[in-house]
Amino acid sequence: MNFVLLALSLIFVIIPLVLSKTLNLGLEKDSVIATIRSIIQLLAVGYILQFVFDAENYFYIFLMIALMIGAAVQNARKKGVSIKGITWKLVVTFVFIEVLTQGILLGLNITPATAQYIIPISGMVIGNSMVLSILFLNRFTSELDSREDETELILSLGGTPKQAIHRPLIASIQASTIPTIESQKTIGLVQLPGMMSGQIIAGADPLQAVMFQLLIIFLLLTTAVVTSVILGFLSYPTLFNERMQLVLPGKK
């Protein structure tokens, strides 16, 4: 692939633009912005990754991961602003999941300790953790709202905050992890995963690509469940005060 061929691929941007214009879909502006942003962002990342790979310096790897976590926190916290201390709770969650996954991968020599492996895998793990956090926070705040009576009932009968929040918490953890588990059930049948397809296109041995893809699938399963569980258990205590009274976000 070179820049000339890449320029030719812009045909795939022109097709929806033409359709949008013809059918008055109103997608032209957003499509152009999305295209320009993706070109700039990915090319910038490409050059940065090239620099980090060449530098072979762990400081740059650390810096890249810190930036990823920072961006993920910034994005996910918008969905949980009503939960006290959500920023540091997200930081703890993302750092924990990163340390856990890289600790296992590097500790057991499953992947080499080079930027070429650490950064892309970290990106996938943190990115998925961010999406899971958003799904979890969305569901958790709506569960708290819809099950307020039930939560107070359990408190009124002498239950602890942990017992009172058990059902909304478990329902939110299940709801946020189900899409990951369900998509993994049909993987390879409906569509080939992006990373595996990319490797095959780049000339890698398909079996090797499959093995790496399986590694990522297993990683993402851990990421999904651990993210929801950690975020849930970090979040629920802030919903109660020291008198074990429910202090719902946004309510006085």
Binding site: L153, I154, S156, L157, G158, G159, T160, Q163, Q245, L246
Partner: protein, 244 residues
């Protein structure tokens, strides 16, 4: 007479409760006598439910003090307080599952089991048949849910029972059944009962004492017969409006 010879189960001293900037309860000072039935009457928005939520420890007063058996409410462990002061709300919220599961909930929260014998005893006390135990709680009628809600609150053997408009949405027959049940619980277990009701006939016939609340204030209190001849002009207007 409602004198100090009767011991206080719950006392309020200049209790105020605010939600944000809005004052829900204003300077409430009064008491509920032990082992008796006290009814709380007053128009909607008078702060009656908020008062109950304060007694069960679901919320805390903005200022003032509440005493349960002469001890400040803050000195109780919240879990112990809520087992001592049981509350059954108008909504009669049920968790998904059978009647037996809902009935056993207070025991489950303590890591214990509710024996079959006790479950049958409680369900019978509230006037439901034993066969109800295996039914889905969501399939119960409004009156049956209220009865189950009371039975569930009784599992903790509360010394004080707060009942929040538990008969307001029920038909006449169900209302009467619950009225009889309240009197029976009071007589059988010596439970102190506070009962919010809109029905002045209920307040007169069931309650030993009455609190009349309006706009977050305790306007008049005394033996239930006060409702026949209230002194406060606002209460006179309210009683007239309710009985006409």
């Amino acid at each position: 007479m409602m004198t100090k010879d009767t011991q206080a189960a719950i006392q309020f001293s200049h209790v105020t409760f605010k939600s944000g900037e809005q004052e829900i309860l204003h300077d409430i000072t009064g008491w509920f006598p032990r082992n008796r039935i006290t009814t709380l009457v007053g128009p909607s928005g008078a702060g009656k439910t908020t008062l109950f939520r304060l007694c069960n420890g679901l919320i805390s007063p903005t200022s003032g003090d509440i005493y349960i058996d002469d001890r400040k409410i803050e000195s109780y462990d919240p879990v112990q307080l809520r087992r001592k002061v049981g509350i059954a709300l108008q909504s009669a919220t049920m968790v998904s599952g059978t009647v037996r599961y809902n009935l056993a909930l207070p025991m489950e929260l303590q890591g214990k089991e509710l024996s079959d014998e006790r479950a049958k005893e409680l369900i019978t006390v509230v006037g439901l048949d034993e066969s109800f135990l295996e039914r889905k709680a969501k399939d119960l009628s409004g009156g049956q849910r209220q009865k189950l809600s009371i039975a569930r609150t009784l599992v903790n053997q509360p010394e004080i029972l707060l009942l929040d408009e538990i008969t307001s949405s029920l038909d006449r027959v169900s209302q009467q059944e619950i009225e009889e049940l309240i009197v029976r619980i009071n007589e059988k277990y010596g439970t102190t009962i506070m009962w919010i009701t809109h029905n002045l006939r209920q307040a007169l016939s069931i309650g030993d004492y009455t609190w009349v609340m309006m706009d977050g204030e305790l306007v008049e209190t005394g033996e239930s017969s006060l409702l026949k001849n209230p002194q406060n002009p606002r209460v006179q207007t309210f009683v007239k409006g309710e009985t006409e």
